[in-house]
Structures are given as C-alpha cells and as structure tokens.
Symmetry: C2
Subunit: 193 residues, 2 copies
C-alpha cells in the first residue's frame, strides 16, 4: 500500500506561489520553497518535478484564483463603469500581500522569465488575452447600453485596460505610493469615455 | 609605476549593461559578464567591486544614455504632440536591441531587484521622476501654446505618460507584437488631448 502523502499539494502550491510572487523565479531557492511550504525537497519535487514545474503550476494557480477574481469584478452585474473601476480596486488589493507590494505575478514573470522560457511566455500571453477579452466584452456591452461613449474602439480599449492592469502592478512593485497608482488607473479609465 | 589598465572601463560597462538589460540581474552570472565584456574577473571587480556594483553603475549608464535620448525627444523643438510621439518612437527602437525585445532596463530592475535593494529602488524612483518631469514640462508648454487641450491636469498626464513608457517596455519584453505596443501608445497619447 502506498504511503499516504504527508502534505496537501494545493496548500503547498499556494504557499510556493506566494514565494515566487514576492521574490521572483531566479532569486527563490529550493531552500526558500521548503521553508515556505513546510514540505521537504522530496515531497515538493515528487509532486511538481522541479523548481520550474512548481513555478509553472504556480502561474496556473495565479490565473485561476487571483486573475479570476479580477475578471469576476469586470463581469459583475451593475453599471459597466463601476465594474471596471471595481476590477482595478480589486487589483489594488491583490497586488499588496503579506509579503508587501508584490505587484502582479504574471507581469513579474513576463519581465524575468518569459523572454527565456517559451512555456512561461505562453502562459503570460494567455493571461493577457484573458484580461483583454474580459475588458473588451464589458466595454462592448457598456457601449451598446449607451453607458460608455459609443465611438471608442472596444478592442483597442480592452487591450489598453489589460495593459493598465500590468502597469498598475508594476508601479506597485516599484514602490510608488497608492495615490500615484490610483491616479494612473483613473487616467487610464478616462479613455474609455 | 602602476600597471596600465588593459581594458576600457566605459566600454566594459556598456557591454555589462546590455547583458543585465537582456538577462536581468539574478540570471546573469559572473561568467556571463566576463564573456560579454572580454574582461576577466579581477579586472571587472577591481573596477566595479562586485556584481551589484557593476549593476548599479549599469543603471546609471542606462539613465545617462538610453533614457537621456528619450528625454531629448520629449524636449525637442517642434509641435508638442509630435515630440511626445517621437519620444515613444525612440522608445520603440531602444527596447529592441541585438539581444531581442529586451524592454526597458529600469522597468526590469523595478520588477526584479528594486523590492529587495534600496539603492536600486532609489535609482528606479529617480528614473521615473526624470520621465515624469520631462513629460509634464512638455505638456505644460503644449497647453500654454494651445497645442494641447488646456483642461488636462499636466502633472497627472505627465506621470501617466511616464508610466506608459514603462508599460510599453513591459509589453515589448512580454513578446507582444509591434502593432499592439503601438496601439497601446496611441491610446495613451489620446489622453493628452
């Protein structure tokens, strides 16, 4: 009979995700991951193969939890403009964790890892597409219901707000104060009309 | 009599800057720096102390060359709107080097190193301030001469375009195509009026 696993892989992955999110990929050591998850080397790598496997799984978890919660705000009932603003409010909350102003993990991975790892690059592209599609669909809806200015190009605007989610995360991680990040978001939202 | 230096420190620093710009801080090894600069370990560290010293000097060189050339376009004679657009054209050129779509080195450092190194964080903040000030001054000028819509808040707009320089560099590094990055810049410029 196989020995039962002595740890919860989902809980370990969540902790590993926060480690990578805060410290990045290259500066996170195996020792950091063991210490953060409380799972030993053999346990972690038995489940996720290696550091890269753990990072790839962490990016998926990020998309399915953090990003999903921003997308839920974009799609939420109510006026389009309010939903768009609340999505960025949520992003403001999510880019500050117990580790500090960590920014957006996908944006961090885009800078640090994507240029040299095609699998990470694909996850970053898919992530940006998820945000693009959600923003664009909401803008189209808001334009149809005359809530938003009807003359804007919804595709470009959706793409623009998706990139704004990245730049807001970047400003956060660069240690800019909340007021500056909020002004950045307000100026970007003003484009939507 | 001291032995003459066998390499040009400025040339070595320029090569080291390109190495860090492409590969980031943590993933650049001493071996990479020796190979890229053609200067041995003792030569490099005699001049720049250690890897971190070389990185800090490379950030200064980036500010004084790459960023300075974008700022020169912002300040250039001619219509304000044209100067702003040309500054972003220059940025588009500069974020693609012989190493590929490397993005903006300062934005990369903001993500990867600034959260854990106060000296790097200070250089990133100063860099953003340089861009803020140049964009804001040009917008004020354009508003006074009635070239730009006079009702915009020049401080917020300047800050917004500075952050757009970062997000454009980030999209570039994330492997987004030129057309998307250009659309992002055009949408951001539309805010200036």
């Amino acid at each position: 009979m196989a020995r039962p696993r002595e740890f919860d892989p989902e809980e370990a992955l969540d902790k590993a995700m926060h480690q990578f999110w805060a410290k990045g990929y290259h500066d996170t050591s195996i020792r950091d991951l063991v210490s953060r998850t409380g799972v030993n080397y053999y346990g972690l790598y038995g489940e996720f193969e290696n550091k890269r496997g753990l990072f790839l799984a962490a990016l998926d978890l990020y998309r399915d939890t953090v990003t999903a919660s921003v997308v839920a705000e974009i799609k939420a009932d109510g006026p389009a403009r309010r939903s768009l603003r609340r999505a960025f409010d949520r992003l403001m909350e999510l880019t500050r964790t117990g580790d500090g102003d960590v920014g957006c993990m996908m944006c961090n991975a885009a800078v640090e890892v994507a240029p040299y790892d095609p699998a990470v690059a694909a996850k970053v592209r898919d992530h940006l597409t998820i945000l693009n599609n959600a923003f664009t669909a909401r803008i189209v809806e808001g334009q149809k219901s005359d809530e938003l200015a009807p003359d804007g190009n919804a595709d470009s605007l959706g793409e623009f707000l998706a990139a704004t989610a990245y730049s807001a995360g970047l400003l956060r991680r660069a240690g800019q104060d909340d007021a500056l990040v909020r002004r950045h978001i307000e100026t970007a939202l003003s484009v939507v009309g």
